[in-house]
């Protein structure tokens, strides 16, 4: 194509691009010269690629199909009388595609008008309250999906609402202080000891980050396990103590502030 009159983003999918090419060449949709269309389609994609655009897989799939059809056409038919090999009827697909595109603008107003027609849920007027017919598990899964789809709207509403109530900020510094206090008091403490009394998830995370921070700063050390243990770290049972040769207390300033949720 000498001049790029179209851009890839103009097309929702490969079929729209094909229709545009057909229109541009003033071709009969019922009699498409595959070779010509295939070449122009590939050229278009090549140009798009040259312009450093991401080409969606749908467009590439169509390109490979077109090339297969084109090569089928170019292969000499051994016996002329034989039927053509079965292949996608591109005309048929394009007509149906065009038809769907035409119809969509007519369906939207219908739906906008009649979509308000509501029906009644089924179980409310059951003659026997305890009667339950057999149920399909797929219906339950559909319900799970529905509920999950509400989840986003609820979460959005919640986040929009949160700033209006006082948002508790859980500073990691505070946790670091209490971790050090605990260790000073008891000498050693396990991870469970340090984390078990946190009232909220945010507190829990802040404390855990505090522990990590203290390890990073080498203010606390992990106690060697007993000799039977395979590893020196034992999950919740990991035991910490204060590093007697701790480096100077300075780096705590950058301790992260963690907000709730």
């Amino acid at each position: 194509m000498e001049n790029m009159t179209y851009r890839l983003s103009d097309f929702e999918g490969p079929l729209d691009l094909l229709l545009a090419l057909i229109e541009k060449n003033k071709l009969n949709i019922l009699d498409i010269p595959i070779a010509l269309i295939c070449d122009q389609y590939l050229e278009f994609l090549e140009n798009a690629r040259a312009m450093d655009m991401d080409i969606a897989t749908d467009f590439l799939n169509m390109a490979s199909k077109l090339m297969v059809w084109k090569s089928e056409m170019l292969l000499p038919h051994e016996d002329e009388g034989a039927e053509k090999p079965p292949r996608f009827d591109l005309s048929d697909i394009l007509i149906r595609h065009q038809h769907a595109k035409e119809v969509v603008p007519k369906l939207f107003p219908l739906y906008a008008y009649f979509g308000g027609r509501c029906v009644k849920d089924t179980d409310e007027i059951s003659p026997d309250k305890t009667f339950v017919a057999e149920q399909k598990i797929t219906d339950l899964l559909a319900a799970v999906r529905r509920v999950n789809s509400y989840r986003d709207t609820i979460e959005n509403a919640k986040t929009a609402f949160v700033p209006m109530v006082s948002k508790p900020i859980v500073p990691v510094e505070g946790k670091i202080v209490s971790i050090l206090e605990t260790l000073h008091l008891f000498g050693t403490a396990t991870l469970r000891d340090l984390l078990s009394n946190e009232p909220t998830l945010a507190d829990l995370i802040a404390s855990f980050m505090g522990v990590l921070e203290l390890i990073k700063l080498r203010r606390i050390l992990i106690e060697e396990g007993d000799e039977n243990a395979e590893n020196s770290v034992h999950g919740e049972g990991t035991c910490f103590f204060i590093n007697p040769d701790a480096p100077a207390e300075d780096a705590e300033a950058d301790a992260t502030v963690l907000s709730k949720e």
Partner: protein
């Protein structure tokens, strides 16, 4: 039936149909009404037509819809916003243009396989298809007798209701005339055969 109810007067049959269709909520097949009430399907349809007319002309908030094989009560469309607000229904009913396109492909070409939908749209449509199934606007209606036995999809009675149609013949006409659907079989064999086994299992 535990009691020896015999519905003689015509009015009674109509009321009985109303009561059953109301209690069901879902589209009630004429066949079922015929069996339960003991009146032929043809008669049942006539009674239903009278009921439908009564609710249409009456100043009531309800409508009695007649589909090709079933009937159902619903509310008149203009009260939809009030109902949504009273029942706290979210505006979940919105359809994206991708969904509407899939719906158009299914409605005018049904029954179709997923492969057919993908081919006619030229792009992968699985998200839109699943969302339409969840919204009960399309549903599996059977399986294609082809390798992989892929599911066939068609529109539902809910589709007819929320688009204000009595039958599929009422679908809007267009300039483009659709050829008869011969694609389905071909596509099913070529494309579905690869995908079908695991995909279809997951759906059953």
């Amino acid at each position: 039936m535990e009691t020896e109810n015999t519905l003689q007067p015509i009015k009674d049959v109509e009321s009985c149909i109303e009561a059953i269709v109301f209690a069901a909520g879902y589209p009630m097949p004429y066949q079922k009404l015929s069996e339960v009430i003991g009146v032929g399907v043809r008669e049942i349809k006539k009674f239903c037509a009278r009921i439908a007319k009564r609710y249409e002309s009456d100043s009531t908030g309800l409508l009695f819809l007649q589909f090709p094989d079933s009937c159902q009560f619903c509310t008149k469309e203009q009260y939809g916003p009030y109902i949504r607000e009273a029942l706290n229904v979210r505006r979940g009913g919105n359809l994206s243009s991708a969904s509407m396109e899939v719906l158009a492909v299914v409605a005018y070409n049904q029954p179709v396989t997923r492969a057919f939908i993908d081919a006619v749209r030229g792009v992968d449509s699985s998200y839109a298809v699943n969302s339409l199934i969840d919204k009960e606007l399309i549903a599996a209606t059977g399986r294609l007798d082809a390798p992989g036995r892929p599911l066939l999809y068609g529109t539902t009675e809910k589709f007819l209701r929320v688009f204000g149609l009595s039958t599929l013949d009422d679908l809007p006409k267009t300039e483009t005339v659709l050829p008869p659907n011969t694609l389905t079989d071909q596509l099913a064999i070529e494309v579905d055969a690869k995908e079908a086994p695991q995909q279809e299992d997951a759906e059953d």
